[in-house]
């Protein structure tokens, strides 16, 4: 069993890391072409990410879309999660699944729906179309995070505020809302990272005029390889790992992922 445990774990690590390792090697190759073993060492492909205007504008555009759409997603999710969890609403499960379904379905469905929608309005090929499409598609992530926080919130906190004379509005502002902020941040971060990486929705909504980073990478792959693709990949991985490491250190990552703290403690003993 011990042997199985280590072989499964080692196999998984190799499976997850192997392609990244190969790309890391390619990204520091001095030569324009892919070579193995690599020849020379160069970080030129990393600096090209910022000095080449085409790559830089794709990066900036993707960051703008990710920041704005994650904010939009959180703005849609917060009132929905709060009201559905704090009040007795008729059709509550139905309204909640309205927020879940876009993300549960393959993204190509949201993508095509949005394409048809924007074509009909005549407002085509704009960056805000992509922001709205991503905001709706990824609103599920903050929705789940905030709903989870509402379900696990200690009711005595709110009762204490009310006993001390706070009206519902003040209770929300001074007790409930501050307790929801960490989950809003977690949901925002998840929506941000996934929006940064999203391809098919951006492509069908405004792919020919708004070139996001994933679209730029795919287009350059079509016209042949440039080592810049390898360096942007490595930058992405480092950013993602850093974000998650921070949320493990300063947030409650294991809880957010659904671990039960009590059982976890016992099992790790």
């Amino acid at each position: 069993m011990r042997a199985l445990k280590w072989s499964v774990t080692a196999f998984t690590i190799v499976f997850l890391v192997a392609p990244l390792l190969v790309v890391a090697v390619v990204s520091i190759n001095e030569n324009r072409y892919m070579d193995f073993p690599p020849e020379g060492f160069s970080i030129a492909w990393y600096s090209a990410l910022w000095t080449d205007p085409a790559w830089r504008s794709a990066i900036v555009r993707s960051l703008v879309i990710a920041a704005a759409s994650a904010a939009f997603a959180t703005a849609v999710a917060t009132p929905l999660a709060y009201v559905l969890r704090a009040y007795r609403i008729r059709l509550s499960p139905l309204l909640f699944s309205l927020g879940i379904i876009p993300f549960m379905l393959p993204p190509v469905i949201t993508a095509l729906g949005m394409q048809v929608f924007w074509n009909a309005t005549g407002h085509v090929g704009r960056i805000e179309n992509v922001i709205i499409a991503h905001g709706i598609f990824f609103s599920t992530l903050p929705l789940i995070a905030i709903a989870l926080a509402m379900e696990t919130m200690d009711p005595s906190l709110r009762e204490a505020a009310q006993t001390l004379g706070a009206n519902p509005r003040t209770t929300f502002r001074t007790v409930t809302f501050p307790l929801l902020v960490p989950s809003m941040i977690t949901g925002y971060a998840a929506a941000f990272v996934l929006s940064l990486n999203e391809y098919i929705i951006s492509f069908l909504v405004a792919g020919f005029s708004v070139e996001t980073l994933p679209i730029k990478i795919f287009n350059s792959l079509r016209y042949g390889f440039t080592p810049t693709i390898a360096s942007v990949t490595i930058v992405f991985i480092v950013v993602a790992a850093t974000v998650f490491t921070f949320s493990a250190l300063f947030g409650n990552l294991l809880r957010f992922l659904g671990a039960d703290p009590a059982t976890l403690e016992r099992n790790q003993a």
């Binding site: 790309v23 609403i89 393959p106 493990a248 790790q268």
Partner: protein
């Protein structure tokens, strides 16, 4: 939250905002897509309102049935591959000490946050002829000449399994952390070996979540676009590639819409089954 309060007029006003946004930007576009599947296609990439069944009839064409069958088949296979690795991995992960536990989770989450285009690219390098696996084998003297393992069916399957694996781990994770150590210890006190305990206790208890995880991976890979586009030949294209190809390059939105409705129905069916499994498991617990 213990007691849910009675809503007031302002509660509904607050609720109306997200519901209106989701209606305008999800339900209405979906309805328009459904309508577009009956529209008439005009050459040049446009379409006009009409009521035609042409696009729907094409769903019964040989080409579409082959594509749909291939997509479903490869997604089921990817689901099986993922569960076979992810289940034991997640089980061992939840029994590790905190430090390796968190470190492995961060690795899984980092892989999760990789763009499909990046995953496709990394595997195309690894399986390619220029700087990949076969070059390492040549370098080690195990092979004479470098070969390309992509584009191929196996490359698409590996890529799909790679993007779905982190999701699979995260679906299994909550229930496996709740699987109490006492349960497995009880089996071992009664004389079962760890191996036997795993097969006769852990796996049977987890059967519903294994099925749920498998089906979620299935829906997830069904939606993959770039993996098949980068790592496969046209005969390895999945439904998502086919739909976006029709919607963009072939400019046949009505047919793309009809296929998208089919994909929606298929996904909703699978998600419905998963929800049913989960609610039944909860009522048993």
């Amino acid at each position: 939250m213990s007691e849910r309060r009675r809503p007031t007029a302002s509660t509904y006003a607050v609720l109306a905002i997200p519901v209106a946004l989701l209606t305008v930007f999800f339900l209405i576009p979906f309805g328009m897509m459904l309508a577009a599947s009956f529209y008439h296609r005009i050459s040049g990439g446009f379409y006009e309102p009409a009521f035609e069944l042409d696009s729907w009839r094409r769903l019964f064409s040989q080409v579409f049935i082959e594509r749909a069958g291939f997509s479903i088949g490869i997604s089921l296979l990817a689901g099986a591959v993922c569960i076979a690795i992810a289940f034991p991995f997640t089980y061992f992960l939840t029994r590790m000490r905190r430090r390796p536990h968190v470190a492995l989770l961060i690795l899984v989450l980092s892989a999760l946050s990789l763009s499909e285009v990046i995953v496709g690219f990394t595997w195309s390098v690894l399986l390619g002829r220029a700087a990949g696996l076969s070059n390492i084998l040549v370098w080690l003297g195990l092979m004479d000449e470098a070969v390309a393992y992509q584009p191929s069916f196996l490359a698409v399957l590996l890529g799909l399994s790679y993007i779905a694996f982190p999701y699979c781990v995260l679906t299994l994770y909550p229930s496996l952390t709740r699987l109490d150590r006492e349960v497995t210890e009880a089996a071992q006190t009664l004389g079962a070996s760890p191996w036997r305990t795993f097969w006769t206790v852990v796996v049977p208890i987890s059967r519903p979540i294994i099925l749920a995880g498998f089906l979620l991976v299935f829906v997830f890979t069904l939606g993959s676009y770039l993996i098949a586009a980068i790592l496969g030949r046209p005969e390895h294209w999945t439904l998502s590639v086919f739909i976006s190809d029709q919607a963009s390059f072939n400019a046949n939105v009505p047919f793309a819409a009809a296929m998208a409705i089919f994909l929606t129905a298929l996904s909703l069916l699978v998600v419905g089954i998963v929800t049913l499994i989960e609610s039944r498991t909860r009522s048993l617990a």
